[in-house]
Subunit: 198 residues, 2 copies
């Protein structure tokens, strides 16, 4: 049994679940896609739920890693531009797909009513980390005199990330980049604009 | 065969699908919940997909009816307060549930990658109607001198509705009203605030 087998299961599972949802993806489809026999699956995971919970860790580490690496490490240029670039990077990822599959973490969250509390406890810290990284950026931008924040950085970060999740929902129904256009316009053109007379 | 049987199927289907998702809800569960035999189902619907597509019409009519009735008919008081009340009404609906099940239309949209184009063509007009009603309110509020819109009403309406959908995703993971708090704060305290010096 190799570590690669486990990663292959998580990778293929992530791909299928992102497309079809957690509840609608059977274990047999994941095993087939990963070309792994059932016995090997049970060597790594106790059940589909156990697999799903590890999948949240796996996806959460990827997504939070991107947020931290991009927003919380050293970089050149202004913080607001960095944040803008970061969302543009994801925007490109999502709009070059033939069909928009959305955010793997947002998709799983949408299923929470069915999949339950154990998943919620795994997903919440992934959101919290996204909020934290964006709040850190906003704080830094204010300290550097780039913007004046009308609300506490932590609350603005929540609103921005939640609105981003909403843009990804709207993207699925519009299948064009309009939801990103209005997101950028409002977030970077209004919420994070240097506001005079305050 | 009665019209009531069809409505009962749609009602029970809507309830189960809102909780568990479209793909994960089997026909047999819907028949059982509605206490309707399989034969009667096929009298009204050709297939599960046919049922799902009619369900979007059914839910879309309810949701768009609420938007139109609340925002596009005569009322007393200011338009911005009316809009605020409207979101508060839904906020209360969503936060008094034991577990937040989210927006039935937003949930189905999240599943679009799996359920496909036919559903997208049914869901898109439901979103368009939500955008239209909010844009109408914003336009009216500007005409009445309540606010100055920094962007075209139609684009602001899109951003507001998409952000609302995002707040509903975040609600599932937080299971508290914080996503609504930041939504209200940013939308009514900043985007739709009377802006001087513009």
């Amino acid at each position: 049994m190799s570590k690669q087998t486990k990663v292959k299961l998580l990778k293929e599972g992530a791909r299928l679940i992102r497309m079809n949802g957690y509840a609608a993806t059977g274990l047999s489809a994941i095993l087939k896609a990963a070309d792994v026999p059932k016995g090997s699956f049970y060597y790594y995971f106790k059940s589909k739920e156990d697999f799903g919970l590890e999948l949240v860790d796996y996806l959460g580490a990827q997504i939070n890693g991107a947020f931290e690496g991009y927003l919380c490490k050293e970089y050149s240029g202004t913080t607001i531009n960095r944040l803008k670039e970061f969302f543009s990077f994801f925007e490109e990822e999502f709009t070059t797909e033939e069909f928009p599959f959305g955010c793997p973490i947002g998709n799983l969250t949408q299923e929470l009513a069915a999949i339950g509390e154990k998943f919620r406890h795994k997903l919440q810290p992934v959101f919290d980390e996204m909020y934290k990284c964006v709040a850190y950026s906003l704080q830094k931008a204010e300290e550097d005199g780039e913007i004046i924040l009308p609300f506490p950085a932590e609350e603005m970060a929540r609103f921005i990330i939640n609105s981003w999740q909403g843009a990804l929902v709207a993207l699925k129904v519009s299948n064009n980049s309009k939801p990103f256009k209005v997101f950028n316009e409002h977030v970077f053109g209004l919420l994070l604009k240097k506001i005079d007379n305050q």
